[in-house]
């Protein structure tokens, strides 16, 4: 799990280093290509302390295992699901990656925290968990950023947690 963390962290760090102003277009191209293969970097904004020691729960609860580092409103409570955006919103092409432990099967999973964009904040089921979350100088690990930032409409609505695969140890 830790090595995979580092793998994704490294790729995201490299992305951040590459995305200088002068190379913005090239970097965005890489970003979108990367997004097609693997939703990158996610986010969320700062917030209240919530369920930092949560163990489990359903997709409409902050305690749900996939939400171990989510900071935002759960799309499951806003017309979407834990892996789909609500109707009428647009998913963020960039995001950030975390690793969460599923107590149901004992496996660790790589998850992508994507924001859903284009409507104002849902305001329902706020969730703030921060396992292995890092400040904004490490954006690949940060959930305070608005990851709708690169969308045509950058308004933030809610956040999903999408399973990308098993984190092999």
């Amino acid at each position: 799990m830790r090595s995979l963390d580092h793998l994704f962290e490294h790729s995201s760090r490299s992305l951040a280093r590459r995305t200088s102003r002068r190379s913005l277009l090239a970097s965005l191209g890489q970003l979108l290509t990367g997004a097609a293969l693997l939703p990158l970097l996610p986010v969320d904004r700062g917030g209240r302390a919530w369920a930092s020691d949560a163990k489990s729960g359903g997709p409409e609860t902050c305690e749900y295992w996939k939400y171990c580092a989510i900071d935002g409103f759960l799309c499951s409570c806003c017309g979407g699901t834990s892996s789909s955006c609500p109707p009428g919103t647009a998913s963020s092409p960039i995001t950030w990656i975390g690793t969460c432990h599923n107590p149901g099967d004992g496996r660790d999973y790589i998850v992508s925290y994507n924001d859903c964009c284009g409507k104002t904040s849902c305001g329902n089921c706020e969730c703030n968990r921060n396992e292995r979350e890092k400040p904004v100088y490490r954006p690949s690990r940060n959930n305070d950023l608005n990851w709708c930032m690169a969308n045509a409409d950058s308004n933030y609505h809610c956040t999903v947690s999408v399973i990308l695969g098993v984190a092999e140890k």
């Binding site: 760090r13 992305l15 951040a16 280093r17 995305t19 200088s20 102003r21 002068r22 190379s23 913005l24 970097s27 970003l31 970097l41 904004r45 700062g46 917030g47 209240r48 302390a49 930092s52 020691d53 171990c68 580092a69 900071d71 960039i94 284009g118 409507k119 104002t120 904040s121 305001g123 706020e126 703030n128 968990r129 921060n130 396992e131 292995r132 979350e133 890092k134 400040p135 904004v136 100088y137 490490r138 954006p139 940060n142 305070d144 950023l145 608005n146 930032m149 690169a150 409409d153 950058s154 308004n155 933030y156």
Partner: protein, 387 residues
């Protein structure tokens, strides 16, 4: 008033009732006509505090509340749009808000703009339109910041390419943009220096020329370990720079008075026995009374991943000696966890503490005595500023 009484023995009571009835109808005199006015702010006080309210449940409608820590009155409001960056000018005369508006309210074309509010009237007096790049993140003093002389205004950009804008507030112009090679935020020092925090734990310091263009840049040595013990980006102003607290409770004092940052030997908020159990955690994770050298930190018991959990206690430190002076349990005062603290800089200071229930408590900053709890001061008060 019903006073109908037919029996003789009750005549005196009836008379009394009638008298009271007449008096009731005769008094009080009518209220005078009123004249509609707009309230003027009183002279500013060191006990004012500007409360950043993200309005997270309806995020396009953030605002800044001006609150008086003596009268406990809400004095007014500054509108702040979507996920704003907020700061005060060095003289405290201006509140500056960098924000985003959408053409159709919650949707449509994005406009990023810096708005200037006169703090004597709370009226917006000017604006500068930005490129649509400003960082949209949790509040800190380094999302937007003036140079200490007020000549330049710096705005952090993240698209996610990292850079910052240099603005001329006197002439309402964007002077340029400086690429920061992945380092983020704008920490001002001197008349023309801007430092950004890098993921390697270093500071990148860019020196500007008189036109606001890059003249030089230098990368410091690492001053913290971002893997083992990252620092919060919510630096706290000291007399010569800023103090950055780490997740585990180390205090990193950075002296920015020279051309290059100087890093003091870190010291710890916690004893060896407390390390890993007690730690700082909040959105605004500390406040310093600079003349007294006192540091106030929301602390809680918790492990990895609890760095945004608010404090159940406020710990008070003497910065020169690194000695802990007090621990004030806020929950004993009826508060929920503290997410932001600020202290006034006058000789009779008060400590403001904003909770995750959106209450703002007012403490005597010397004794810890709770003076007042202002309930629901906004929706999500995550940062507080004072002149």
């Amino acid at each position: 008033m019903g006073c109908l009484m037919r029996s003789a023995p009750l005549r005196s009571a009836a008379t009394l009732c009638l008298t009271l009835s007449v008096l009731a109808h005769a008094a009080p005199p009518p209220l005078p006509a009123e004249h509609l006015t707009v309230q003027q702010l009183p002279p500013k006080s060191p006990h004012w505090v500007y409360v950043y309210d993200e309005a997270f449940n309806n995020e396009i409608d953030a605002r800044v509340h001006l609150f008086d820590g003596d009268s406990y009155r809400r004095l007014g409001q500054i509108d702040a749009g979507f996920t704003p960056s907020v700061n005060l000018s060095p003289d405290g005369a201006t509140t500056v808000v960098a924000t985003t508006y959408f053409a159709r309210g919650s949707r449509g074309a994005r406009t990023d703009v810096v708005e200037f509010t006169d703090n004597t009237t709370l009226a917006v007096t000017g604006e500068i339109v930005l490129p649509p790049k400003r960082v949209e993140t949790a509040p800190s003093l380094f999302n937007i910041a003036y140079s200490p002389d007020g000549h330049f205004l710096y705005v952090a950009y993240l698209t996610p390419a990292a850079s910052f804008g240099v603005l001329d507030p006197a002439h309402g112009k964007v002077l340029g943009e400086i690429d920061t090679a992945g380092c983020v935020l704008v920490i001002p020092s001197g008349p023309n220096r801007v430092s950004s925090i890098c993921e390697s734990g270093r500071l990148l310091t860019v020196t500007l020329d008189t036109q606001g263009h890059e003249a030089a840049r230098a990368l410091s040595e690492p001053f913290f370990d971002p893997d083992r013990d990252p620092v919060f980006v919510q630096g706290i102003p000291t007399t010569r720079g800023y103090a950055f607290l780490s997740f585990l409770g180390e205090v990193h004092e950075v002296d920015l008075s020279g051309t290059r940052p100087a890093f003091a030997q870190p010291w710890s908020l916690v004893s060896p026995a407390e390390q890993g159990r007690w730690r700082p955690g909040a959105d605004q994770v500390g406040a310093i009374h600079r003349a007294l050298g006192r540091l106030y930190v929301p602390m809680h018991q918790g492990g990895e991943g609890t760095h945004k959990d608010g404090g159940t206690e406020i710990w008070v430190f003497d910065m020169p000696s690194h000695r802990r002076l007090a621990s004030w349990p806020v929950q004993a005062a009826g508060l929920s966890r503290v997410l932001a603290v600020q202290v006034s800089q006058d000789p009779a200071p008060i400590l403001f503490a904003a909770s995750n229930a959106a209450d703002v408590a007012v403490f005597d900053a010397l004794s810890g005595k709770l003076r007042h709890v202002e309930k629901h001061l906004g929706q999500t008060p995550w940062m507080m500023l004072n002149p």
